[in-house]
Each structure stands twice: as C-alpha cells, then as structure tokens.
C-alpha cells in the first residue's frame, strides 16, 4: 500500500510532463516555469561564481606578476638611465613590427625575415636530428647490442656544450650557414635518441608477451606495439630537442653572422640600439613558448 502511494507521489512531483497528459500542460506550466526559472537562476549564479573564481585564482596572479615585472623594469630603467623602459621599448616594437618584411639589401632586412631565417635553420637542423635520432633511439632501445655500442659515445658527447661543435662544423663544412645547422643538429639530437630509447625499454612486458605469443614479425612489432607505446616518450624528446635547438640558435648565429635573430641582436648591439635587443629577447622567448605549446598540443593528440 504505502509503496504504491509513494510511487504516485514521486511520479506527480518529479515527472512534470508525462507524455500522455498533453491536455494538462497549460495548467502545469506556471508552476513549471517557476521551477525552471529558479533552476536557471541558480545556474547563472553558479556560473558567475565559477568565472570570478577562475579570475581570482588563475588570471589575477599572472596579471599581477606581469605588472610587477613591468614596474621593476621601469624603475631599473629610470635608475640606470641607459636601459630603455617598457614605454620606450613598446614604441620601438610598434615601429619595428609595422614593417617586418622590408628588404634593403643583404645586411638590412625586416625583423620578420630574421625570425624566419632562424626558424628555417632550426627546422633543418632539428629535422635532420629527428630523422636520424628517432630511428637510432628505437634501434638502441630494442637491441641490447646496439645499446652497449652507443652508450659510451652518447655519455661522452652529450654533455659537450653546443658551441664547442661550431669550429668542427666550420672546418668540415667550410661555410657559416651549414655550420650553424650542424650545431643545431648535434645539440638537439641527444634528447630524441635518449628519450626514444628509454621509451622502448619501458614498453610493458605484457604487450611484448602478446607480440611473442602471436610471433609477430619485427615490422608488425614496430608498427603495432613499439611505435604507439613509445610515441609519448618520443614526443617528450622532440619537445626537449626543439627547446635546445631554439636555445642554441641565438648563440650560434651571433658567431656565424648572416641573417637571423641571433645575428640581428649582435647587429643592434653594434648600433647600440638597446630597445631592439630587449625586443629580440622577448621575440626569442615568445617564439620558444609557441614552439613548446604547439608541440604539447601535438603530443596531446597522441595520448590514448
């Protein structure tokens, strides 16, 4: 008995619009609207709360940090008299970026050209490093013999400062442009080799057991098990490598000259245009950040 009455109660209260009672609709509407209104009001209140919390917790600290940074910078600039402040730098940046792609002969090109030519060098050097480093990492990780062969060389060469490779590049390649690419190549190859190799050794034994029971060919093992399992490790290596490559390019270009953001910094130093040097620092930082974020985004797509 009581069960039945409770059931009725529930169906009356909780299900406001049974499919069969179309006629009852107008009568029920006012009550319904009232309930939905409060519900939606509640939702908006909650949304506002969430948004304010997001601002207070996440956005505010960052904004505060940037403002503080600018204030300290401005104060320091005022003190020293030689260091340009944020306002001057900003004005100079606006002017610089109003025409980023002008071309007045080989030694005077817009900032856009310089950034692009640095990116090109990093792209080629890093691309070659990936082309060789990733397969090498797989081979080293998969076969203990090759791991034994490579590990002393890797341990020895990896800690070498990137620019120490430049003279060798100049000697062998004879020209500045390929020598800079060589420096990028040799300094960015290690994280890819090492992370890929470590990834291969970390492939869970369970997956390898599946491969063994099925007696898969080495090619199938690579495409179906090793590659997908190692991909996250590999992407970490790629991300670290791009970071290193971008870190090294400025120094390498300062030494080799030509065109590029590093050379541009050196050139502006010779012209004593300090605003431009500060702008270059920001550009290097921002481009590095974009590269990193882009790769993070790419890496996310490979997670399973």
């Amino acid at each position: 008995m009581s069960v039945v009455s409770i059931k009725k109660n529930i169906s009356g209260d909780e299900i406001p619009m049974p499919a069969s009672s179309v006629k009852e609709q107008p009568m029920k509407q006012p009550q319904e609207m009232a309930t939905t209104k409060t519900a939606s009001e509640k939702a908006t209140v909650q949304r506002i709360k969430a948004v304010t919390e997001f601002f207070v917790r996440r956005v505010m600290p960052s904004v505060l940090g940037v403002v503080l940074f600018l204030v300290i910078w401005a104060l320091l600039a005022k003190q020293s008299g030689e260091l340009p402040g944020p306002d001057k730098t900003w004005a100079s940046a606006v002017e610089l970026f109003s025409d980023p792609f002008y071309d007045n002969g080989p030694n005077d090109k817009g900032i856009g050209w310089n950034i692009l030519s640095s990116l090109e060098r990093v792209g080629i050097g890093f691309g070659l490093a990936a082309l060789i480093g990733i397969p090498l990492g797989f081979v080293i990780g998969r076969f203990a013999f090759f791991s034994g062969m490579a590990s002393p060389i890797i341990s020895l060469l990896r800690p070498v400062s990137p620019l120490a490779w430049l003279p060798i590049g100049l000697l062998v390649l004879k020209e500045a442009q390929p020598a800079a690419i060589w420096v990028i190549f040799i300094s960015s190859i290690w994280p890819m080799i090492i992370n890929t190799a470590v990834g291969v050794t970390k492939v869970p034994q369970d997956y390898m057991n599946v491969a063994r029971v099925l007696n898969l060919s080495e090619w199938k093992i690579f495409t179906r098990i090793l590659f997908p399992a190692v991909l996250p490790y590999m992407m970490t290596g790629v991300r670290l490598s791009i970071g290193v490559a971008w870190l090294v390019i400025v120094a390498a270009e300062m030494l080799t000259g030509g065109m590029g953001i590093g050379f541009w910094v050196w050139d502006e130093w010779n012209n004593l245009n300090v605003e431009h040097i500060i702008i270059a620092i920001f550009i290097v930082g921002i481009v590095g950040l974009l590269l990193e974020q882009g790769l993070l985004l790419l890496a996310k797509r490979f997670e399973y």
Partner: protein
C-alpha cells in the same frame, strides 16, 4: 597414447635480489589432445608460472616441456594465451586487437574479407558485437577480458591457455562464456589448460583438475579425474551426487590439507 602436452620434471627458479627463489619443482603432467585440464591452487603458488612455461614465454630452469612431440622452445600462435590481465593494446580498437591475431594466423591464406569476418565473429561470440569499434579504455574490465578471450579463440589454437580469464566477470556472463568456451573447444578439438580460483568452474569444465601445493617449491599435490558425462548441464549438476562429491574433494584439498598459511 596420444600425449599432446608433456611436462617432465619441470622446475622453475627465479633469480631475485635475495637469491634464488624456487617457484616450481618436480612438475610432471601429461595431457591428451582435446583434454580440458584446470589448475587450481592458492594465490602465488605458481599457476601463472606453469602456464607461462607451456606458453613458452619463460624457459624452465630444469626438466623439459613438449607440445605435439616437439620441445617447447618459445611462444607461438599454436598456443594461444588469455592473459590474467587481458593485455589488450590500448591504441587499437577491440576489433583491431582481435584482427592482429587473426591476421597473423590466417593472413596470406585467406582473403581480407574473411579475416575481417573471423575477427567480427569472434567478438560477437563473446557478446561484444556492439562494441567492436570501441577502444579498450572505453569498455569495462569484464568486457576487456572478453576481448582477450575473443582474441585467443579467433586464432583457433591447438592449445588454449587461460589464466583466470573469468575473474572479472559477473556470474551470468561467466556462465554464458563457460558454455561458449566448452562449445568452441569441443568443436575445434583444442586442448585447454585453464587456471582458476573457482571450484565450481573447475569441476564443470574439466576432465581433470590439477591441484597444486602452496609455494615456494610448489608442485602438483593431487590430480582429480572428473568423470561426469558431457554435455554437462550446470543446473542438473548442482544436485548431482558425483558433482557434489568432486566439489567437496577440491575444497578439502584447498582448505584442509593445503590451507594457505596465514601471515606468519
């Protein structure tokens, strides 16, 4: 006599940081073709290790194992394994996980359409026709286990090795899959070795039940012949005298003679 799987004096010693650990010793077992044998014993006694030896995933430290008259030198698709922890590849859909096995066994002999049909049928058999294109992380633990079973069955193996594969399943699904498993194994004439914790399951499915003593140095304590006529009906058996007796024997072995040592 047709001894399909032979285990002779097999011994397994693991090298650990604390020295040698003898997991299994003096294992002797002969299994006929088409026979259904289950292995039962307390956790950690070495059931999975024994199964891995037959699979060829590990090599015995002593003794020898044979399959179809040849010494087992490594794993192969003639001995399919349903792993204790399903071991699906997380980046492949359920279908692709099964297809990988089908392709390995029947690829090159049959047209692609046939291979696809085999994979689909194997999944339908375990009741996953609706989840064919789901990824492993999108399905429940029991469903993953069933994909693992489908993968093994799709290979039509000579020997089917099952490691507590029904552990994560509810009673109804379990019963259904037990029936299906028996049907397939019978129709293929496969030899099956199944590790289980479930006494009823062991009695219902097996021709013989191998009961193992506790580790370390575990070995076969006793082998029970299950001479119940087939096909077996789980409902009718529940009240069958022989069945109840056999069940009692297994329980006695596990809980009286080889009681698991409580934390000493």
């Amino acid at each position: 006599m047709n001894k399909y799987v032979q285990i002779e004096n097999a011994q397994m010693i693991f090298e650990t940081k604390n020295g040698k650990f003898v997991a299994l010793k003096d294992i002797n077992l002969l299994i006929d073709q088409g026979e259904f044998v289950s292995i039962i014993g307390h956790s950690g006694c070495g059931k999975s290790t024994l199964l891995n030896l037959v699979a060829g995933l590990i090599d015995p430290s002593g003794g020898a194992l044979f399959c179809a008259g040849r010494e087992i030198a490594g794993p192969g698709p003639d001995r399919a394994v349903v792993f204790q922890n399903h071991s699906l590849l997380p980046w492949l859909s359920c279908f692709d996980n099964v297809y990988l096995a089908v392709e390995r066994v029947f690829g090159g002999k049959e047209p692609k359409a046939n291979l696809k049909k085999r994979a689909t049928e194997a999944l339908e058999l375990v009741g996953l026709g609706h989840a064919i294109h789901k990824m492993p992380h999108e399905i429940s633990g029991g469903m993953k286990q069933r994909v693992g079973i489908a993968r093994a069955l799709s290979m039509q193996p000579k020997v089917l090795l099952l490691d507590e594969h029904f552990g994560a399943l509810d009673a109804l699904t379990r019963a259904h899959l037990q029936d299906e498993l028996l049907r397939i194994v019978t129709s293929l004439g496969s030899t099956a070795i199944m590790v289980t914790h479930d006494v009823d399951e062991a009695v219902l499915l097996s021709d013989r039940i191998v009961m193992m003593t506790n580790g370390p140095s575990a070995t076969i304590g006793e082998i029970l012949d299950v001479k119940l006529p087939r096909p077996r009906d789980r409902l009718a058996l529940a009240e069958d005298r022989d069945y109840v007796h056999l069940r009692g024997e297994v329980l006695k072995f596990l809980y009286e003679r080889h009681k698991k040592k409580e934390a000493a």
